[in-house]
Symmetry: C2
């Protein structure tokens, strides 16, 4: 049972230095979600053994190509793999027309149900809920309508005590319901409260994804107190004017948002292709917010 | 001076086994062309050091995603790289609407002139000509309108004699015009016919690209006598029924077309993801047409 995010792409618009456009594969207990889907995402999912067939929701932040040009290939691949489960795609207005224009041209109809949910939000808004998470969206500040996403885990992460499970002969099938807090009744009728099997409990956590965006005060409220924040850092401070012009953030600005929002851990990414060496990003951000990590493709990041 | 094709993608629709969707980078003397543009083509161009900024024409065979989903990213990247040269894209009806729908959504206008030329052809038709090639298109037989392309070199490939160039002090700038057959006048007024500098001349050649297609008798006429034929071979003969159903070819069918058309060399590709090991393709095709090569990504293929 875990809450972790696998980085599929870490670069900004121009793929360079072996870095790919934006995409992340989020796991919350039994469920998996895709956030952004830049060109090549389906290959990156395969490359890092992420179970793409298990994705049932895709969240697109905005309609700049480096955040969604991979969706056409992924949706087509699902069809070729004979997917039957429904798929939901969340994103800004315009996404639905685009997907239907492109898929219609291929002359194939989808085997599975595809629901595109277009977002228009001026303030945080709950858009999705399942057994594991609640997902809120909130507006970011970019050149075109752009949305961040906040994933709130609905139950703690529980590690069970293997020794006690064996001792009381708890069948494998029951372990998931114990984690969910349900008591276990043994064959002789003894009722065991779930909590006696808990070895370690990690409080339900929150993960926020903010890309692309310029810094703005309200953002600190939107992501206040999250355990894990992914925030774009396209530029270094030396390029602050360019960041402002293009409505992006510097590493220092991302760190300042993390600091003011009191988050647990900061991940930065969406690096401009002008930077081959990323060490200065770490230095610049961690001087302001110490628990900063530069995202690396193929690596999992957990809540602390 | 050369006539060669670099393979960027060799697989059919589902990327697998490290193989990518269709794309080829064609060089004819000083000019470069892209044929098909599956997802990830811009990364493959970079990976194999192909000079993507030198591409001025892109030829799309049909609107199945594995042949064109990479075009949105490539066109956007040209913009970010501040391309100023015009770009022409040839392809089936529907391509223009798709490109404009997708690019409009990004909110950016292009820095360069983009001309999309939509093809409708029931028989071979000349669609393009520049200093190096004439390009004809011809209809293929597939589930949606699909076009093959024939590239006819306009002048022979000439290798100059370095020893004579040095002896008569021919400046570097003049070498290109000598290759093109123009005489050279030295500083003392002596006129040298171009041909005295020719060490080796390779006749002007022809390259045809046929993907995706089922076999059909007219195709042998369309590609009659070409020096180099790229023909799809999605399946082995054991899957002949599936090939027919999906309007694809087997390795044996591709080889039979090459044999009947009397081509010089056959390249086969567009392998189904069901095949990890491709050795049986080589065996099946070369039993019918000996000079068959399985395309490998990153490798250049020349006219013999």
């Amino acid at each position: 049972m875990e809450f972790k995010v696998l980085i599929l792409g870490s670069n900004s618009a121009l793929p360079a230095h072996g870095r790919h456009p934006s995409s992340q594969f989020l796991t919350v207990h039994n469920n998996h979600y895709l956030i952004d889907c830049g060109e090549g995402t389906q290959m990156q999912l395969d490359r890092f053994d992420a179970r793409k067939s298990r994705i049932n929701q895709i969240f697109i932040t905005h309609l700049h190509g480096d955040h969604y040009f991979g969706i056409f290939g992924l949706l087509t691949t699902y069809n070729l793999l004979r997917r039957s489960f429904p798929l939901q795609v969340f994103g800004p207005v315009g996404l639905s027309k685009m997907i239907s224009t492109v898929l219609d041209s291929t002359g194939n109809s989808l085997n599975y149900s595809l629901e595109v949910i277009e977002i228009e939000a001026n303030e945080p808004q709950m858009i999705f809920e399942d057994s594991e998470v609640r997902v809120l969206t909130f507006p970011l500040k970019h050149r075109i309508p752009t949305y961040g996403y906040l994933f709130e885990e609905k139950r703690p992460s529980v590690k069970l005590n293997g020794h006690l499970l064996d001792k009381y002969k708890v069948p494998l099938d029951f372990r998931e319901s114990i984690r969910a807090g349900k008591s276990f009744t043994s064959t002789d009728g003894t009722v065991f409260p779930a909590s006696i099997f808990f070895e370690k409990t990690i409080e339900a956590g929150k993960f926020a994804y903010c890309s692309d965006t310029a810094p703005f005060p309200l953002l600190e409220e939107y992501v206040q107190g999250v355990d894990l924040l992914y925030h774009e850092a396209t530029f270094l401070s030396v390029e602050k004017d360019r960041a402002e012009l293009t409505q992006h953030s510097t590493a220092a600005q991302a760190a300042m948002t993390a600091l003011r929002a009191g988050v647990g851990k900061l991940l930065i990414g969406h690096f401009s292709s002008r930077y081959k060496n990323l060490t200065p990003f770490k230095k610049e951000a961690s001087a302001i917010f110490e628990n900063t990590h530069l995202v690396e493709e193929g690596k999992d990041y957990f809540l602390d």
